[in-house]
């Protein structure tokens, strides 16, 4: 599976430029599911990236399975940490950010939700945006914040959808907050309660 190409959108919608090797600089790598392949591709392009890399992997999804985890470990990163979900890995990832110094690169690969959350964590820790490479792999489901109740719904696959917190019918805007790591969801039937368009699958 290749990196996703998204259709053109507004300037706040994130674009993922893909992973490019920055040599043997100290780095943090975080991937989920098929994103692990992007890290493997990166190491193939320049094996030296692994020398000072602390690699975090969430082997989500049966399609990628344990094989990819074994391959990633075999790439020889300076350290390798695996977790069942990003939420579970987050404390160790946050600690690695706290220990990092300027000059550290961050490589992120996986769904938009994973990239968004990990990027928000890294930016809050002081890592400059320009030190982050990200590559989208996997499904197109979005992480969306309800502008009304502020609750975040993960893995939103259709537009409109029902907010998992307050139950309002929300349409998904392309407007995106890096600080929150989520798209904006706004009530679709605010002016005409009950008149909700047929949900469409979200496409890249």
């Amino acid at each position: 599976m290749r990196a996703t190409e998204f259709s053109p959108s507004i300037p706040s919608r994130p674009v993922y430029g893909g992973l490019h090797p920055h040599g043997a600089l100290p780095s943090l790598m975080l991937a989920e599911g098929a994103g692990g392949e992007a890290l493997a591709d990166l190491a193939q392009a320049d094996p030296s990236v692994m020398r000072h890399a602390h690699l975090f992997y969430v082997p989500a999804g049966a399609a990628t399975g344990p094989d990819l985890a074994v391959r990633l470990r075999a790439l020889g990163p300076a350290s390798y940490v695996e977790g069942p979900s990003y939420a579970a890995l987050r404390p160790r990832f946050a600690r690695a950010l706290a220990d990092a110094h300027m000059g550290t690169r961050l490589y992120l690969a996986g769904s938009e939700g994973l990239i968004g959350q990990a990027m928000a964590e890294a930016l809050a820790a002081g890592l400059p945006l320009e030190a982050i490479d990200a590559e989208h792999r996997g499904g197109f489901a979005r992480r969306v914040q309800c502008v009304h109740c502020k609750g975040i719904t993960e893995n939103v696959a259709t537009d409109p959808f029902t907010c998992s917190h307050c139950g309002l019918n929300l349409f998904v805007r392309d407007h995106y907050s890096r600080r929150i790591g989520a798209f904006q969801g706004v009530c679709v039937d605010a002016e005409t309660p009950g008149i909700v368009p047929e949900p469409q699958e979200i496409k890249p």
Binding site: V147, C187, A190, E191
Partner: protein, 348 residues
Amino acid sequence: MTIRFNDETFRDDYSFRNSATAIRRFPFPFDKDDYMYSVNMEPHGTGGRAGSVFEKRFDVDEHYVAEMRDRAITLAGDPLRCQSLPHMELAGWDLLELIMQCKAEDYPDLFQLHRDGDRWHWINRPLGIEQRFTFLDPTTLPCGPMEYITRQAQGDFAVLDQRENNLWMDAGMVTSQADWSLDFDIGMNFFEWHAPVPKAAEMGIFQRALKFLLAIPQGAPSRRLNWTMTVNPRLDTSPENYHLWGPEKRTITPENVGAKQYLRVELQSFWRLPRSNALAFPIRCYLIALEDLVTVPKWARRLHRVIRDLPDELAEYKGFAVNRPIIIDYLAQFDDGKPTSPGIFPDD
């Protein structure tokens, strides 16, 4: 000069009213018979046209007390309408100083500021506030400096950090916005927070506007007018509460359009702040019912032509496309086709 402050509301029974004086001094935003985005900046500061909303640096009018009451209600329900990222506290003090100083100088009968080094004493007569505090010590105020002063100043306030040749929406008090969320947009740069505006990016207008704003020096503030339409004199037209006020937008009929449909004008000004090098961006909101606006014949003719000829996507973005036909029909009866004079002020 003494102002009589209205006892009025911006929600529920909507008892907001403009006096005859308020109508005459309304900042009508169109200087000609058509409209397109433009940077349209002009100098702001002391010595603006007498009697107009441009006369003082921070205009105080008959709605002051009621607007501050409405802001307090909004904040009580949603404290996230006022936020400041940690590095913006110094800019908050800059803003507090700017507003206190301007108000005390421009309205000495309403506001007083006594400074003895960092020991400050602030008196706000209309709101009945008297506060002694230590400048730059936030623990001597009931809340952060930006929140403190913007609970006492009409209009929304964005405080923009300047870095990387860009401006960043890093602090604000936003309770009367035209449909944008500070909580969502905080931390975004100029291009990101304007991203949802149609067409403007491709016109390069934001590039030019940003360059102008980055170069605003101390002591030379600028201003521009922006506008939209709102049903009912509602300040809190936030996306947060859209599901609550949205149904009101569909209540316009040919019979009630004059009374219920309001032109909403933002007087935006831009101030370089001294200690923080941040840019203060007050967004003052003025509301006028169409039936009041048409009492000025020039405005009635011109608003009809502007609304009639506006590109569809702008009406859509500004959120009044659904009511546009009724608005145009209503305004058409006041447009006899005669030419209008240049500029925004009434003819007589």
